[in-house]
C-alpha cells in the first residue's frame, strides 16, 4: 500500500509538474469538438433562430421539441450532424497517438522539456506508436470481444431466470470483470509505451514483452493505482453532471457551457495521472542499467631517475626535416 501510494504520488507529481500538457490536450479536444458540432449548429440555426417554438428549449428542455427539430426535413439527415461529432472525436484520438510520446518524455524529464525535444520525441516514436496501437488494438479487441460475448451469454442465461434482477446483477459483475481485465491490458500497453519512448527502443516487440512482464510482476500495485484513478474520473463525471442538473438554471447557457467544459477538463486529469504512474513505474523498475566498462588501474611503475629524454625536434608542417647538417 505504501508502494502504491508512492506510485500514485509520484505519478501525480509528474502530472502536476506538467499541467500544460493537459491544458493543451483540452484545448485541442475543444477545438476539434467545436468543428464537430459545426454541422449541427448550422442546421439548428436554420430552424430555431427565428421560431418562437424554440423558447421551450431555453427555459427548460422540452424533449418532443428537440425530437421534432431532428425530424424536420430541413434539418437534414441526422447523420450529417452526428457524423462529424464522431469523426472529430476520432481525430482527437489520432492526435493523442501523435503527441503522447512527447508527454511521456516530458513526464520522465526532471526539467521542463523544451518544445523541440517534445516534438522530436513525437516524431521519433510515431511509427513505433502506430505499431504499438496496432498490436494493442488486436489484443484488446480480441479480449474485449471474448469477454463481451461471455457477458452476453451469461446475461441471456440469467435472463431466463424468474429472478428479474439476476440478469442485471450478472451484467454488473461481468462489466466489473471486463473493466478490470481491460484496465490490466491498458497497464500492459502503457508500460510498453513508456519503454518505447524512454528506452528509445526501436523493437516495439521487445517493449511489449517487457511491459507484459512488469505488468504481471506488479499487477496488484499497478491495477490498484489505475482503479483508484478511474474512480476519481467516475466521481468527477457523476458529481459534475449532478451539479449541472441541480445547480445550473435551465436558461443559463453560459453556466451550462462552463460546467460542461470544467467536467471535461477535469476528466482529462485521471488518464494523464495514469500515464504519470506508468512513467514513474518505468523509472523505478524498468530502466535497464547502462553498461559501463569497469576501471582497472594499470601497474604502478616507480619513476626512474635518468637523463632527460631527448627533446624531439618539432615538426613544422610544410617544413622538410633538416637532415643535411648531421
Amino acid at each position: 500500500m505504501v508502494e502504491q501510494q508512492g506510485l500514485l504520488g509520484s505519478g501525480w507529481s509528474r502530472v502536476a509538474r506538467n499541467k500544460r500538457y493537459i491544458v493543451w490536450f483540452y484545448i485541442l479536444n475543444l477545438a476539434l469538438a467545436w468543428f464537430g458540432a459545426g454541422a449541427f449548429n448550422t442546421q439548428a440555426h436554420s430552424i430555431l433562430d427565428h421560431s418562437l417554438q424554440s423558447k421551450s428549449l431555453v427555459h427548460g428542455f422540452d424533449v418532443p421539441v428537440l425530437i421534432e427539430m431532428f425530424s424536420r426535413p430541413e434539418f437534414g439527415p441526422t447523420g450529417a450532424s452526428h457524423g462529424p461529432v464522431l469523426h472529430f472525436a476520432l481525430l482527437f484520438f489520432v492526435l493523442t497517438v501523435l503527441f503522447l510520446p512527447g508527454v511521456l518524455q516530458g513526464y520522465a524529464s526532471t526539467y521542463r522539456l523544451p518544445r523541440e525535444d517534445f516534438f522530436r520525441a513525437c516524431g521519433r516514436n510515431l511509427w513505433r506508436f502506430v505499431r504499438l496501437l496496432f498490436v494493442a488494438g488486436i489484443v484488446m479487441g480480441v479480449v474485449a470481444g471474448v469477454l463481451f460475448a461471455i457477458e452476453g451469454f451469461l446475461v441471456k442465461k440469467a435472463g431466463e431466470s424468474t429472478n428479474e434482477l439476476l440478469s442485471f446483477e450478472v451484467g454488473v459483475v461481468c462489466l466489473v470483470v471486463i473493466f478490470l481485465k481491460m484496465t490490466t491490458l491498458r497497464i500492459w500497453f502503457d508500460l510498453a509505451q513508456a519503454d518505447v519512448v524512454l528506452s528509445d527502443r526501436k523493437a516495439v516487440r521487445k517493449s511489449i514483452g517487457i511491459g507484459f512482464r512488469h505488468m504481471w510482476r506488479s499487477l496488484g500495485r499497478l491495477l490498484g493505482s489505475y482503479v483508484i484513478t478511474t474512480m476519481v474520473a467516475a466521481v468527477i463525471l457523476v458529481l459534475g453532471i449532478w451539479i449541472w442538473m441541480k445547480l445550473i438554471p435551465a436558461a443559463s447557457v453560459g453556466g451550462a457551457i462552463f460546467i460542461a467544459q470544467l467536467i471535461l477538463l477535469l476528466l482529462l486529469i485521471p488518464r494523464f495521472w495514469q500515464r504519470g504512474i506508468a512513467v514513474s513505474y518505468y523509472l523505478e523498475h524498468m530502466v535497464e542499467p547502462i553498461a559501463i566498462q569497469p576501471f582497472v588501474p594499470g601497474p604502478v611503475v616507480a619513476p626512474v631517475e635518468s637523463a632527460p629524454a631527448p627533446v624531439s625536434t618539432p615538426v613544422i608542417p610544410g617544413t622538410p626535416p633538416d637532415t643535411q647538417g648531421e
Binding site: A33, F40, N41, L48, H50, P64, L66, I67
Partner: protein
C-alpha cells in the same frame, strides 16, 4: 346494435333504449352523484321487457345477475352467457376446457350459422396475423425466425348444439377478410335448424389451447401466463350481418356483452387474477385449486397466473356507484412501485368518473406482467396489464402512462364497445385523447411523461409526434387491418386521433368537448356505437356543423401545415431617409409592416395569427385559410417584431410547429444550448476513445 334493437320490436323506442341500456339502475341509485339522470322511465321498462327470454327458449336464458357490478340490475343488453370450466397445465402451457355458451338471438331474424373466433390460431407461421406482422411489423415479436415456442393453437375438440346434437363435423374455417386458406382464426358453424328471432341457443364446446410464448398480450413467459383471447368466442351480429373478422396483426376485438362464469383449475402455487369477481376457491386433492369468477355486463374474460405475484388488494376506491376494489398483482422486483401503480389507478378512476361517467364494476385488476414479455399494456374487461421495469425513476412516468391508458379502455372498449377491427381509432384513439386529458390533470401538461433532471415531455406532444411521421399515409376512418404499416396504424389510430380531438377542443371549446365526451359515454355505454354516432354526438353538443373538419381530419388524409413566411418592415417615408440620419430612435417614425402567412398543405382550417410589435402591442387576426396565403399590413409607430399562427396553441395537427412563428431578430440562445451538448458529447467521446485506445 341497431339491428338487434329492431328485433326488440319497436323502432320508435330504439334511440331511448340505446341511450339507457343499463342506465336505469345507475340512475335510480346514483343519479345524484353521477349527474347522469337523463333517462326516461318508459324507455327503461321497454328495455327490460325486450330483454326477457322468448317463449321458445327451451328453458334457456341469460342470467340477470349483478354480483360483479354496483347495480341491482343488468347494465347491458346481455346477448351471451359463457360458462367455462378450464384446466391450466403450467408445465405444458396448455388449457383444456369445456365451454357452454348460451346465445340470445336478438338479431330480428333467424340465424342458421354462427362464426366463432379462435384467436390462438393466429400464432402459426402461415396465419394472417403472422404474415402481416412479419411484413408490416408489430409492437413486440419480429418473426425473423420462427421458433416452436411461438406456436399457438385453439382446437375445438367437439361442439354440440343443444337440441341439434354433435355438429363438430359442420365446423368450417373461413377467411372473410383475405381468403388466406391457412388462417384458422375464424370457424363457422352451420346449424341443422335455424335459431328463431328472440330464441336462445346453447353450444357445448370442448376445446384445447396450446398457448404460445407471449405475443399480442397473450401467452406464457417463464412461469407467467396471460390467458387472453383463449376461448372460442362467437362473433357479433352487426349492421345486418355477422361481424367476425380474422385476427390481424393490427386488430383487436369485438364481442357482445353478457355474463361470464369461469372456473379455472390451476396448480396450487399459482397466484391468479382475472376479470370479474372471484366467487369461490377450492383446493383439490391433486395439488390444484379451482377458482371461480363471475363477470356481469362484460364482453370478454381474461386471466393471469404466476407463482410469484405479490398482491395488494386492500385498496378500495369509493366510486359513484359503489366501492371498487383495486387488486394489484406485482412482480416481486417491482414491489417498490406498487404505490405508484395504485395511485395512478385511483387517479384514473377519479378522473374518468368526474369527466365521463361512473365506473360500475366492483373490481379492477391491474397486472404487472412478466418482464420482457409481450404481455404489457393490455386491456380486458375489469382487467388490465401495466408495464414497468425494476429500474423506473420517479420522474419517468411510463408505468403511469400505461396504467392510465389501459384503464381508459374500461370506458372506450370495455363499456363503449366499438368495433376494434373496423374502427380501431374509436377505442385506441379516443382513449389516447382522454389519456392526454387525464394525464395532463394528474401529472401536468408539459410533464405527463417525463419530468426529470430538467428534461420534460408531455403526452399531447408525444401523441402529435407519433402522427407527424406518418401524416400522409392513412385516414383515421379505415379498417385497422388496412393500414399501410404497423407504424402508420399506430401513428394514425393513436396519435392522429388524439391530436385531431385535441384540435377539435380549440374549435368547439374545451368545455363543449368535455360535455360531448360525457354525453357520448353516457349515451353509448354498453352498446356498439359507430363513428357516425360519435361524431354526431359532438356536433349535437357543440350545436354546429363540423363536417368540414371531420371530412378532412377523420375521413381524409389532408395535412395541416401553416407557416409565417416572412415579415418586412420599413419606414413609410423611407425615401426621405438621408445619410447619417436613421429612423431607429425616432419614436414618431411610422413604419409599414407586412406579415405573410401561408397554408402549405391541403388541410383548410381557420386560424388566428398574433402579430407583436416592438412597442409591446399585440394584434390578433383571423384568417379563414381558404386561399394559399394571405398578407397583413400595418402602419404603426412600431415595427412588427414577431408573428405567430395559433398563438393559443390549440392546433395539434400542424405538421411543423417551428414555422408557425417568425421573429425578425434571430435568437441564438437555443442553438448555443443544444450546441453545448453536442460539443460536450464530441469531447467526451474523444476522451473516452483516447482513454482506452492509447
Amino acid at each position: 346494435m341497431k339491428v338487434r334493437s329492431i328485433n326488440i320490436g319497436s323502432i320508435i323506442v330504439l334511440t331511448p333504449v340505446i341511450s339507457v341500456i343499463g342506465l336505469s339502475p345507475l340512475v335510480k341509485e346514483h343519479a345524484a352523484q353521477a349527474g347522469a339522470a337523463q333517462t326516461a322511465p318508459a324507455a327503461v321498462s321497454t328495455h327490460i321487457a325486450a330483454s326477457a327470454p322468448a317463449t321458445d327458449s327451451g328453458g334457456l336464458t341469460i342470467p340477470d345477475t349483478s354480483l360483479a357490478i354496483n347495480s341491482t340490475q343488468p347494465l347491458s343488453q346481455r346477448v351471451v352467457h359463457y360458462e367455462i370450466d378450464a384446466k391450466y397445465d403450467a408445465a405444458k402451457h396448455t388449457v383444456d376446457a369445456n365451454e357452454v355458451l348460451t346465445y340470445h338471438n336478438l338479431t330480428g331474424q333467424a340465424l342458421d350459422h354462427f362464426p366463432f373466433h379462435l384467436y390462438q390460431n393466429a400464432f402459426q407461421p402461415n396465419s394472417t396475423w403472422v404474415r402481416e406482422a412479419k411484413v408490416s411489423g408489430t409492437r413486440d415479436v419480429g418473426y425473423e425466425n420462427w421458433e416452436s415456442k411461438l406456436y399457438g393453437s385453439e382446437e375445438i375438440k367437439s361442439l354440440e348444439v343443444v337440441g341439434q346434437g354433435d355438429l363438430t363435423s359442420q365446423l368450417q374455417y373461413i377467411q372473410p377478410d383475405d381468403g388466406n386458406r391457412d388462417d384458422k382464426t375464424v370457424v363457422d358453424l352451420r346449424l341443422s335448424k335455424p335459431i328463431a328471432p328472440g330464441a336462445y341457443v346453447q353450444f357445448k364446446i370442448a376445446f384445447h389451447d396450446q398457448m404460445p410464448e407471449t405475443q399480442a398480450r397473450s401467452g406464457w413467459k417463464r412461469d407467467f401466463m396471460l390467458g387472453g383471447q383463449w376461448f372460442p368466442k362467437v362473433g357479433v351480429w352487426w349492421h345486418g350481418a355477422w361481424n367476425c373478422h380474422q385476427y390481424h396483426a393490427t386488430t383487436e376485438f369485438f364481442a357482445d356483452f353478457g355474463v361470464y362464469d369461469v372456473k379455472l383449475t390451476v396448480p396450487q402455487n399459482e397466484v391468479v387474477g382475472a376479470s370479474g369477481v372471484k366467487v369461490a376457491e377450492v383446493e383439490n386433492s391433486d395439488k390444484t385449486k379451482t377458482l371461480t369468477y363471475h363477470g356481469d355486463d362484460i364482453h370478454d374474460f381474461a386471466w393471469t397466473a404466476s407463482p410469484r405475484f405479490k398482491v395488494k388488494e386492500d385498496g378500495v376506491y369509493q366510486g359513484q356507484m359503489g366501492p371498487v376494489q383495486m387488486r394489484i398483482l406485482m412482480q416481486p422486483a417491482h414491489w417498490s412501485q406498487v404505490d405508484r401503480h395504485e395511485k395512478i389507478l385511483k387517479g384514473s378512476l377519479e378522473q374518468f368518473e368526474s369527466r365521463y361517467g361512473p365506473y360500475p364494476y366492483k373490481t379492477i385488476t391491474l397486472v404487472d406482467p412478466e418482464p420482457d414479455s409481450a404481455a404489457g399494456g393490455m386491456e380486458y374487461p375489469t382487467f388490465i396489464t401495466g408495464d414497468t421495469n425494476w429500474f423506473m425513476p420517479e420522474g419517468l412516468y411510463l408505468p403511469e402512462l400505461v396504467v392510465e391508458h389501459e384503464f381508459g379502455h374500461q370506458y372506450w372498449y370495455g363499456m363503449v364497445a366499438t368495433n376494434e377491427f373496423e374502427d380501431a381509432w374509436m377505442d385506441e384513439g379516443i382513449n389516447s385523447y382522454t389519456e392526454v386529458k387525464v394525464l395532463d390533470a394528474i401529472l401536468g401538461k408539459k410533464t405527463s411523461i417525463l419530468n426529470m433532471a430538467g428534461a420534460t415531455a408531455g403526452e399531447r406532444e408525444v401523441q402529435r409526434m407519433s402522427y407527424v411521421g406518418v401524416a400522409s399515409l392513412d385516414a383515421i376512418a379505415q379498417k385497422a387491418y388496412e393500414y399501410y404499416s404497423f407504424n402508420s396504424y399506430a401513428g394514425v389510430t393513436y396519435g392522429k386521433t388524439a391530436s385531431v380531438l385535441l384540435t377539435l377542443e380549440g374549435i368547439v371549446g374545451e368545455d363543449t368537448m368535455d360535455k360531448a365526451m360525457h354525453a357520448y359515454f353516457m349515451k353509448y355505454r354498453f352498446t356498439h356505437p359507430t363513428k357516425e354516432d360519435f361524431l354526431k354526438t359532438i356536433e349535437d353538443v357543440a350545436g354546429r356543423d363540423l363536417h368540414w373538419y371531420f371530412n378532412q381530419a377523420i375521413y381524409g388524409t389532408q395535412i395541416l401545415d401553416y407557416k409565417v413566411t416572412k415579415i418586412e418592415t420599413f419606414p413609410v417615408n423611407w425615401y426621405e431617409e438621408k445619410k447619417g440620419r436613421s429612423h431607429k430612435d425616432d419614436k414618431n417614425t411610422v413604419y409599414r409592416s407586412y406579415v405573410w402567412v401561408q397554408r402549405k398543405e391541403d388541410f383548410v382550417m381557420p386560424v388566428d395569427v398574433e402579430i407583436k410589435f416592438d412597442n409591446g402591442e399585440k394584434v390578433r387576426e383571423h384568417w379563414d385559410g381558404a386561399s394559399h396565403w394571405t398578407k397583413f399590413v400595418y402602419e404603426k409607430k412600431a415595427k412588427a417584431e414577431s408573428a405567430e399562427i395559433d398563438p393559443d396553441h390549440t392546433i395539434q395537427i400542424d405538421r411543423n410547429n417551428f414555422d408557425n412563428s417568425y421573429t425578425t431578430e434571430a435568437h441564438t440562445k437555443p442553438v448555443w444550448k443544444l450546441g453545448n451538448y453536442f460539443v460536450f458529447a464530441s469531447q467526451w467521446l474523444g476522451q473516452a476513445l483516447a482513454w482506452w485506445g492509447v
